[in-house]
Amino acid sequence: MKVVARFFNPDRTRANFVRERVEAQGQWGTVREESDSTFLYEITVNGIYEIKPWLRSFGSSCEVLEPAWLRKELISEWKEILGYYESVREDL
């Protein structure tokens, strides 16, 4: 199965720790430039058991593009996670 994700470079810092981490931990996946602020990462995997948590750990620096169902799964997970912390809003 092919997984494609877009990664966002950090805006303020000198060191691109997103890119560094993807390159260090991204296994046999490949990286290609997309724009000044983003790059694409592509990998073929047998299952998503390992890659999904890894992609999720990047938070808003990562957007899964393919497959569509994985993208949907992550959206619904993040909605639920937001639900875990919704009450924080009132404390501000």
């Binding site: 260090a24 948590p53 997970e77 993040w78």
Partner: protein, 268 residues
């Protein structure tokens, strides 16, 4: 094992202890031999120790797992051992002061900074070795990449002064400590060991509330490690929820909102 065997074993171990000998199994010796074959091993020991260990283990089987085991989910290894580790470790153990010359981030060199080396730390984020040291000029705790160190010179420091600075350092580190309480969502209790593994780099205690069937993990971390802790919490996704630690909770909410923004999801 019957009690007599136990007593006998106990006596043998005592004897070995008294004569300063350590008993190793053949498996441990084979592992040690394998470790000595690692490219970084020659830097990790003095030439005498390295040679001696190699001679002692010459007769051992070489357990070459590299043909049998493929490490698939591996991160790129940047730095396993740094040649300065040994020298610095000695300074720390012997309670010596130092004068440190290092490269600074924006280029240039900071020469002869006096201080006390305190601790060697391997950053799991950067995959690099750091030296924590107290700068007597700046009166602050510093972290310098071993990679950025140009030279170190040993200096004499009185034991009283060493104690004083070490106390200061512990107080500074104590100040930077934060506590977070993380709950395991009960539906994922079966994955507890995987969840705890994600926090393996942190000091933590785990409590279990039998009535609610609820695991609570109390994690102590330094402020500068909070981004790393957050990445672990995002890694675990729905499995865990931060219940104490306002800053972290706020950051998680921001992350979730920002991610949903990336996916073009409107606020509910």
């Amino acid at each position: 094992m019957n009690p007599f065997e136990k007593i006998y074993n106990y006596q043998i171990i005592n004897r070995l202890d008294e004569s300063n000998a350590v008993a190793l199994t053949s498996q441990e010796r084979a592992w040690l031999r394998t470790a000595l074959a690692h490219a970084s091993a020659a830097d990790a020991f003095t030439p005498e120790t390295f040679g001696k260990l190699n001679r002692l283990l010459l007769e051992e089987d070489f357990f070459d797992h590299r043909d049998m085991i493929v490490e698939k989910a591996k991160s790129k290894e940047r730095q396993v051992y740094h040649p300065l580790l040994r020298a610095l470790r000695r300074l720390i153990v012997q309670g010596k002061g130092m004068r440190l010359t290092s490269r600074i981030k924006r280029g240039g060199i900071k020469a002869n900074q006096p201080g006390l080396p305190v601790k060697l730390e391997y950053s799991m984020v950067k995959r690099e070795w750091y030296l924590l040291w107290y700068s007597s000029r700046g009166r602050s705790l510093m972290a310098t990449k071993l990679q950025s160190i140009v030279s170190i010179e040993e200096t004499a420091m009185s034991p009283e002064r060493v104690d004083e600075l070490r106390r200061k350092v512990s107080a500074l580190l104590e100040d930077r400590k934060e506590l977070a309480v993380i709950e395991v969502i009960p539906a994922y209790n079966a994955e507890l060991s995987r969840i705890l593994y994600a926090f393996s780099c942190f000091d933590k205690t785990v409590g279990y509330d039998e009535e609610k069937d609820l695991y609570r993990i109390r994690v102590t971390y330094l402020i500068d490690e909070s981004e790393f802790l957050l990445s672990k919490i995002r890694f675990l996704g729905l499995r865990v929820k931060i219940v104490e630690g306002d800053g972290l909770r706020r950051r998680m909410r921001e992350s979730a909102e920002k991610v949903l923004g990336r996916y073009g999801v409107e606020r509910l």
